[in-house]
């Protein structure tokens, strides 16, 4: 084991932060970041699935036959997605309604499957947990950041509280579909500018 657990965790926060560095799992990133709250909710749900599936995949990695590993990963991930779905339905129903079909769609989020394949299948339980948690937190932070920009510019408010005052004319374009693409593209550009120095 070359890297310590902290290193596995930290790499998810900057060096491999999804979706900026690993351009995977863009659909939820674009669709649910109209507000910060939705972004964080989606991020936490994905983190839960990511950590649980990483743990289970790394525990079972000597049992799973390599030839059918992808099918096994998908079943494991789908199980945890169902768990999240039922939990959110029971405890955070309004958020569940807002996120809609993007909760079941965590199944096909490439980040989760990608981490199972690229990391958990080759490493033991503890580093896999750290990896899943790191990538999950990174994903949540990214979603929150995009949500912050879009909500602030698009509605002039955060968490429903007005920030710019009543005189601000909301730039509604940012909370609509085209704004999502352009906002993410510009943020990626800023990341590149900062990261390549």
């Amino acid at each position: 084991m070359a890297k310590s657990i902290t290193q596995e965790f930290v790499k998810g926060l900057w060096a491999e932060i999804p979706p900026f560095r690993l351009v995977l799992g863009l659909c939820p990133v674009l669709a649910v970041t109209k507000t910060v709250e939705n972004g964080i909710g989606m991020g936490l749900a994905t983190t839960f699935v990511l950590v649980c599936s990483n743990i289970l995949v790394s525990m079972l990695r000597s049992v799973i036959p390599p030839k059918i590993r992808i099918a096994c990963f998908i079943i494991i991930i789908a199980t945890f997605v169902t768990v999240v779905e039922l939990l959110m339905q029971a405890f955070t129903y309004p958020l569940f309604l807002k996120l809609g079909i993007f909760i079941p769609l965590i199944v096909v989020n490439c980040i989760v499957l990608g981490r199972a394949e690229a990391f958990a299948f080759k490493n033991s339980v503890v580093p896999s947990t750290a990896d899943g948690f790191g990538i999950g937190v990174g994903f949540t932070l990214s979603l929150a950041a995009i949500g912050l920009v879009r909500e602030l510019i698009g509605t002039g408010a955060l968490f429903g509280v007005s920030i710019f005052g009543a005189g601000y004319q909301p730039f509604a374009f940012m909370v609509e579909a085209p704004g999502a693409f352009i906002c993410l593209g510009l943020m990626l550009c800023i990341m590149n500018l900062v990261g390549n120095k």
Binding site: V23, L24, G25, L26, C27, L30, A31, A71, I74, I75, A78, T79, V81, T82, E85, L86, G100, I101, P104, L105, V107, V108, N109, C110, L113, E176, A177, P178, G179, A180, F181, I182, L184, G185, L186, L188, C189, I190, N192, L193, N196
Partner: protein
Amino acid sequence: MGDYIVLAISCIFVNNILLAQFLGNCPFLGTSKKMETATGMAMAVVFVLVLAGIITWLTNAFILKPFNLEYLRTISFILVIASLVQFVEMFLKKSMPALYAGLGIFLPLITTNCAVMGACLINIKEDYTFIETVISSFSYAVGFGLALILFAGVRERILLARVPKPLQDTSIGLITAGIIAMAFFAFKGMV
């Protein structure tokens, strides 16, 4: 009949699966660098999405609903789609090698294409009848193909342009997609 045409138009343009519903963005950015791959992907999606829409609708109506197993929808749909893709791949390889050569490498990618799974879930959520499901699945797939091919056309031109370094690749791709989404945005309110 008129209702079906309205449904088709709304699925292709107004609720375009890529640019308005944000489903299937990974292959959208991944396979749009060349016109050839974009066309291949678009055809594969049309093919699989219609079949997947029909089969998941049948699964939901005849297996999940009668036994009150709706909470197993996610897991059963992903399994149905994954095995369908595998089956289609084997079938095409055996009986239509020409079509397989065109679609071949794109088929496995479709399992994790959220446009397919997403469209199937929307069909169930909207309580579509069987015929409506067929029409909406086909129209969603056509909308996906239309947006993908348009985008690939623009992207091929960008290759010739001088893009500032930090904006290169994905970044400019997303901004381009935003501008195309703006064009589709104009259809809103039409239906």
